[in-house]
């Protein structure tokens, strides 16, 4: 999972550091289709994104983003993006410091109670007090955990609805460029699998991680009565489902990408050959004109694709940072509690932190898979044109 996450970030960084190809045709060609394209569905989804993304990027307009990308006017400053990321992470950690404070204070109280246990007339009184404190701490921790899981679910929801709006647009552009077979192949499969992946992650993987975390917490309640194996089982199940989903999704994308592109490429090649051969003298001019227009249509499609990837990154990164910050807080609380309290409490907090990292992995995997889906659809158009 960690490898996947690292891979995801390397991809994101390499994408952000890449300058889009400059338009070689005139401006009128770059504008080709931008005004006519029906981007309303995508724009509506972008408008509906939650306020935090809008705070981070105030002037988020899909159409403007596409046209800037097509003209190569967007100035990616890696240092600035990195600084912004660091700032957001620190802000999130700071915002959750109160949670850390509460957890640590409760842990200290339980530690003190444990030491005073012998002072009570009956040991059971001390035990009950300790038990209650533990329950309060666990309730608090599980409450925040639930909120964080919901952040993940929301992110997956946002990504799925964005993809459902973006893909028809990309497939339209692909079909307009001659990729009719590809788009017909891709439409049901890609849209269906995106929705299935989103639903499975949201309704199966994330709840399984939650169950595993809850059982992990309950495991710490009693020293004699353990349910840690059941927690492990749930965690393994969730990881298996996640792995299966990503493998199947990538397999489908790879198989269909190649098949469609070759058919379309051959069709385009035939069209070009007939224009060249059957129109006397000026056939070459015509095929050149067609090629120039096709080139700018390709540029448009790639710009729409890159803009889609940028939005997917925005939708993914902010919730991921939140989840990461809270996971960090849990791990930090676990580390702080260990020397003063008992090991069970520290283990419980650390385990919650680890479960949150798993949630982080699941959400990041969805982002990564959707990123691949966009890349494959965009890349397939390029392949179609290359095969002419």
């Amino acid at each position: 999972m960690n490898k996947k996450v690292c891979f995801f970030f390397v991809l994101m960084l390499s994408l952000l550091l890449t300058q889009p190809a400059q338009a070689e045709q005139g401006d009128n060609l770059v504008d080709l289709g931008i005004s006519e394209l029906d981007m309303n569905a995508v724009e509506n989804v972008v408008q509906k994104l939650d306020d935090e993304i809008k705070q981070a990027v105030p002037e988020l307009d899909f159409r403007i983003l596409v046209s800037k990308l097509a003209r190569g006017e967007i100035d990616w400053n890696a240092a600035e993006i990195f600084n912004w990321l660091i700032k957001v992470i620190f802000n999130e950690v700071l915002a959750n410091l109160s949670l850390l404070g509460k957890l640590v204070v409760l842990a200290i109280i339980t530690a003190v109670l444990q030491n005073l246990m012998t002072a009570f007339e009956k040991a059971t009184v001390g035990k009950i007090a300790y038990f209650i404190c533990y329950l309060v701490l666990v309730t608090m921790a599980v409450g925040t955990f639930t909120l964080t899981i919901n952040i993940g679910r929301e992110a997956v929801d946002n990504m799925v609805s964005f993809m459902q709006a973006l893909l028809p647009l990309l497939l339209t552009l692909l079909a307009a460029m001659g990729g009719i077979a590809s788009s017909a192949l891709f439409h049901p499969i890609i849209l269906g699998s995106i929705t299935v992946i989103g639903t499975v992650i949201k309704n199966v993987v994330l709840p399984l991680i939650f169950f595993s975390a809850v059982l992990g917490v309950v495991n710490g309640v009693s020293a004699k009565f353990k349910v840690s194996r059941m927690a492990d089982l749930f965690k393994t199940l969730s990881m298996t489902v996640l792995g299966l989903c990503s493998t199947v999704f990538l397999g489908i994308l790879a198989a269909h990408g190649a098949a469609g592109a070759v058919t379309d490429g051959v069709a385009l090649r035939t069209a070009k050959y007939t224009t060249d051969a059957f129109v006397p003298v000026v056939g070459r001019t015509l095929s050149d004109a067609l090629e120039a227009v096709m080139g700018s249509a390709l540029l448009m499609k790639n710009a729409v694709g890159i803009a889609g990837v940028v939005i997917i990154i925005l939708i993914t990164v902010l919730p991921l940072i939140k989840i990461l910050a809270i996971a960090f807080i849990y791990r930090l609380a676990g580390a702080l509690v260990q020397p003063i309290g008992d090991s069970e409490m520290a283990d419980c907090l650390t385990q919650l932190g680890s479960s949150l990292l798993t949630v982080f992995g699941a959400v990041a995997t969805v982002g990564l898979l959707f990123f691949f889906a966009i890349t494959v659809v965009v890349g397939m158009g390029d392949l179609t044109v290359m095969l002419r």
Partner: protein, 203 residues
């Protein structure tokens, strides 16, 4: 997921009950029995879920695949067709401009006339003849001799009686030039002669 959720709930309740019993029961000898009984309860809870699963008629709850009806494939293909028509129109327009410039360049090689404009008609219908030239119309005028205006014009002595015949000769000459131009263009583009029209706009 409902089944698993119930299982987790019952496990939590059983563990809590075990902890309370552990606290409430006085002797440590009893605690082993408590652990045993609670363990049995856990096993029953898990087995019950398993049996529920096996007895289910596999009419399992499947989450709705698509919450919102997205655009259908037909709609995408219609949109794509419109867009590709736009691309084609754009390409044909570029092509028309290119051919127009070529025709004008070719016609301006003729020293006797000045090319004012050229119009090109293309076959834009789908099929084998797509892009073929249908008709070319050239508008030409007599070549202006702007640079020669400063020079002393040769003195022309016109004989009054010969004027009509000279004008007639000029007409013939002009017609010949126009025909020659039309033929050159038609031959170059492999068109029948009647598909090239040259309009002489007299100055």
């Amino acid at each position: 997921m409902e089944i698993l959720s119930r299982l987790v709930e019952s496990l939590v309740v059983i563990v809590m009950l075990a902890v309370f019993l552990e606290l409430l029961l006085p002797t440590s000898t009893m605690q082993n029995y408590v652990k045993m009984v609670m363990g049995l309860l856990v096993v029953i809870a898990v087995l019950q879920v398993l049996f529920d699963f096996f007895h289910a008629d596999f009419n399992l709850y499947v989450p709705e695949i698509s919450a919102e009806p997205s655009i259908t494939l037909e709609q995408i293909q219609v949109n794509a067709k419109e867009l590709s028509e736009e691309y084609k129109d754009k390409a044909v327009e570029d092509y028309r401009q290119g051919v127009k410039k070529q025709v004008m360049a070719l016609a301006s090689l003729n020293q006797e006339v000045e090319v004012l404009d050229a119009g090109v008609e293309l076959d834009t219908s789908e099929g084998k003849n797509f892009g073929q030239l249908q008709f070319i119309q050239l508008t030409v005028a007599e070549k202006s001799r702007g640079n020669d205006s400063n020079k002393v014009k040769p003195v022309e002595i016109k004989v009054q009686t010969g004027e009509r015949s000279t004008a007639h000769e000029q007409d013939i000459e002009r017609q010949q030039t126009v025909n020659k131009l039309a033929k050159t263009v038609a031959d170059f583009y492999n068109l029948p002669d009647d598909k090239v029209k040259v309009i002489y706009s007299g100055k």
